[in-house]
Symmetry: C2
């Protein structure tokens, strides 16, 4: 069985690749387990830091280039994880780039999949940024997408198209609307949610971090470990369990920035949290404050997706997985 | 002031054109009224049956052709009504055509508008076909789009893109999700909802009509007269009244096919309704039965959009406007 991860050089792509290699087999769409014989990681830079493994294939290219993606798919894949994206802050600042990657390249990938002899399972990294508007609202499984960012709009459009392509039998899609993923390893990026990881990650490594929002700002979060498990779970769900509805609001936990810092202090002491500089950033606030932090992810929990137990568990998992 | 109607040769486009010419002026976006000096009707066939009027400009072209649309917009418009579409049944049978017209041409129109010096008011004919799924559901203003047709998907995608283009200040969009429009004049078309007009229109003209769904099938309907008023009302609403949310579920009335026929019989006698042949069509049923007939269009009513009073009013308006 062949698997492709678009966005395979990103930290989630690499984490997913490691898990798949370790697991060795996959029950695609609920069918009998099959060995993973090849795993291609496609990205615009080479994936570094992965173990040497004969199953791994690194492909560097631009997802906007139809010839490049077509050639990758000439050898059809059984499962495609589509994690490639221009992140939220970048898509807001560079509208054309966001449209080209998040919308047009996704649509082009769908059209190429439609022409494959296989009907691949497509697991798409959508986002809870498809929601917006009234912050007080509880987001339910049938709540409308009313994004307040171009990134959220592009993800919502992809969700709709993947659902229709699935209904027509061109692909077998599963759109996972991700909460904010924290604690991400590495460095800050152009995602407007980047600070949700920075305020934990940098202080734990004795570096200063900036928190651009007020302490009472609430966020809806999921750890890298749980989202990776959920990507794999999504690929293994039977299509029948999903039916016509291919959009899934993943479960997360609601916390406030103040609560995150309180738990960090309980784990690592006040000298650690003293490294956080509270410097409001109107641009980041204007987007983050449109992301609703309260969800009732009933369907996802019924379908067997998992969330973290607590903020403490999230921080401790980061320390164990990513720090010495 | 210049107005363009895309889909201007269709029956709704022509009805809207007649109303605009009669009205003579428009309070675009709630501003002071201005004279309508030019009204362009763009379509793939010439609009016939309109009165000679020096303000009218007929433009025949393909909305998928960027050069054609660009040249039409070289003389910028203040208001654009976008009614051009591949209808539901056709978009389901010819996927590529539906995507090309309903999605790609709309996106291309948005990109061309973005480059205009004006920021045109764009009134978009969206559809209640963006909703689907559980029939028992009451559709509220914040209910998710979960279309069960490619037509509904393409309309939902356009709604999202027009909203984001509006938020960014590229256009000033108003997406009206139309109930099933009845009674349409003319002949049956490839819309899966075509029968909702046929079963009234044909018998009233002593012709046979086919009803492809069961009598207890419920539909959510609006008359041509009211939807035309609502198009004009949408263009005149201040942007502030809409805020960030540019999607509006238009008000309609819920009725059953049996009730429509009962009212027709009360108006025109049993010899008229005897002209209806009840022949179930699985393809039409499979799509129509996914359109929810129960809505709570609270926001639209608050914004001043109108619905019909009764089925009797709808049939009588059709007889008065369209029959001798």
């Amino acid at each position: 069985m062949r698997i492709i991860i678009f966005g395979g050089a990103g930290f989630l792509g690499k984490k997913l690749a490691r898990e798949l290699l370790k697991k060795g087999e996959l029950s695609v769409g609920g069918h009998a387990p099959r060995k993973i014989t090849r795993l291609a990681l496609f990205d615009n830079v080479a994936a570094v830091g992965l173990p040497a493994d004969s199953r791994l294939e690194m492909v560097v290219g631009d997802i906007r280039d139809p010839a490049r993606v077509r050639s990758l798919l000439e050898d059809p894949a059984d499962v495609i994880f589509h994690l490639a994206a221009v992140v939220s802050g970048e898509a807001e600042k560079n509208f054309d780039l966001g449209m080209a990657v998040n919308l047009h390249a996704t649509l082009q990938l769908l059209e190429l999949c439609r022409n494959l002899p296989t009907r691949p399972v497509l697991v798409f990294a959508s986002s809870c940024a498809v929601f917006g508007g009234e912050l007080s609202d509880q987001i339910r499984d049938n709540t409308a997408s009313m994004p307040r960012s171009s990134y959220g709009t592009q993800k919502a459009v992809a969700d709709l198209l993947i659902s229709d392509f699935s209904r027509r039998g061109f692909v077998d899609g599963r759109c996972l609307r991700l909460p904010t993923i924290t604690v991400r390893p590495g460095k800050p990026n152009a995602a407007t949610s980047s600070f949700v990881s920075s305020i934990i990650r940098e202080p734990l490594q004795k570096q200063r971090a900036v928190c651009p929002v007020a302490p009472d700002t609430e966020v809806w979060i999921l750890s890298p470990k749980r989202v990776t498990e959920n990507f794999i779970h999504a690929a293994q769900l039977p299509a029948d369990a999903l039916g016509a509805n291919r959009m899934i609001n993943l479960p997360g936990i609601t916390t406030s920035v103040a609560e995150m810092v309180r738990v960090l202090e309980a784990i690592a002491g006040p000298e650690t949290t003293a490294l956080i500089d509270w410097i409001p950033d109107p641009f980041i606030q204007s987007i983050v404050l449109t992301w609703p932090p309260h969800f009732e992810p009933t369907r996802a929990l019924e379908l067997g997706f998992h969330r973290d137990e607590s903020m403490r568990e999230i921080i401790e998992a980061f320390m164990e997985e990513e720090l010495d």
